[in-house]
Subunit: 194 residues, 2 copies
């Protein structure tokens, strides 16, 4: 238990430092300094900076996956409802721990080749959930899209901008952020603008 | 002239390496190796890895700014046309040099504090162009939005996902990408989904 909470503290501090200064500019020593632990003691918990990055990214990915899974289970087959639930779940994972989400979205490219590939595969699988709902919506006439793959990518790009500006103490509470983005995404998918 | 083209070659190679392996994992030595020049000779052109990053980011920012300026000059006051032109200009800057755009979008956070601040200010000014068009569109009834600042941020997040997947030899030619994103953005701003 102490072990888990120490690891979690390391990840939280690292998330904040990576977010504030960038992954490249942050050292394991910087992380140790904030935690007020000595370098050698830190290395008992983390083998490298990349291992800390991986721990953060892996946990964030797992949270996105679990939230999408729960959202899909909770909604019926109606694609508008299903998309709203997926968007709401995604935004919630971001706003619940924006430091980790920011690292997941902005810094995963700094992982080594094998872990990058693993993240890419998980991102593809995750994006597929969105694409399948969009395809169902097109088939049933709920969505008007000519390119569901591009639409799914665009939806996730829109949502993944949130960690760049969201602050828990900012002008928009998390619930309002989710409302806005559900609305924006459904407009994108439903509207016939021209 | 030789000086300029050598610098440009360094930036192009660095863009590709930063994009492929991430900024953190790329060294000045890696850049020199691809260019087949010796380390000391490279250091005559670049003082540090961050200086190369800055050169790429600064040039990309200037291209986005110039394209938006031209798009705004070329269109009248009609906000739908103005937004379509801004989106088209933005997508074009990305697709014309997707390596530099990817570095601009994904790696600018690795800059030192002063340059990060400078980039943030330019991004804010650039985003303001989008917000002003959205505000004009709301005032005239062309757009239905309750939060123009959030809408401008969302539009740019949507567009800035493109460097993550666009390939010049991919299934979608640059012009089609621009068409799709003009459509997606106008739907977002115009439609009343619920």
């Amino acid at each position: 238990m102490v072990e888990i909470s120490r690891r979690r503290a390391i990840e939280d501090v690292a998330s904040e430092l990576f977010r504030a200064h960038g992954y490249a500019a942050t050292s394991v020593r910087d992380i140790a300094r904030v935690l007020e632990i000595q370098g050698p003691s830190l290395y008992a918990h983390v083998t490298s900076k990349e291992a800390v990055l991986w721990a953060i990214v892996d946990r964030a990915a797992a949270r996105f996956e679990a939230a999408a899974e729960a959202a899909t289970r909770a909604t019926g087959i109606d694609p508008v409802e299903a998309m709203a639930a997926l968007v709401r779940a995604h935004v919630r994972v971001i706003t619940d721990d924006v430091g980790a989400a920011a690292v997941f979205v902005h810094e995963w490219r700094a992982l080594g080749p094998d872990r990058r590939s693993a993240v890419l595969e998980r991102r593809d699988a995750y994006e597929r959930r969105f694409r399948e709902v969009i395809e169902t919506g097109i088939a049933g006439g709920d969505f008007e899209m000519t390119d569901p793959a591009l639409a799914a990518t665009a939806v996730l790009s829109t949502l993944n901008g949130i960690p760049g500006w969201y602050r828990p103490d900012g002008r928009l509470p998390a619930g309002r952020v989710a409302d806005h983005f559900v609305d924006l995404v459904l407009r994108m998918l439903q509207g016939a603008s021209r």
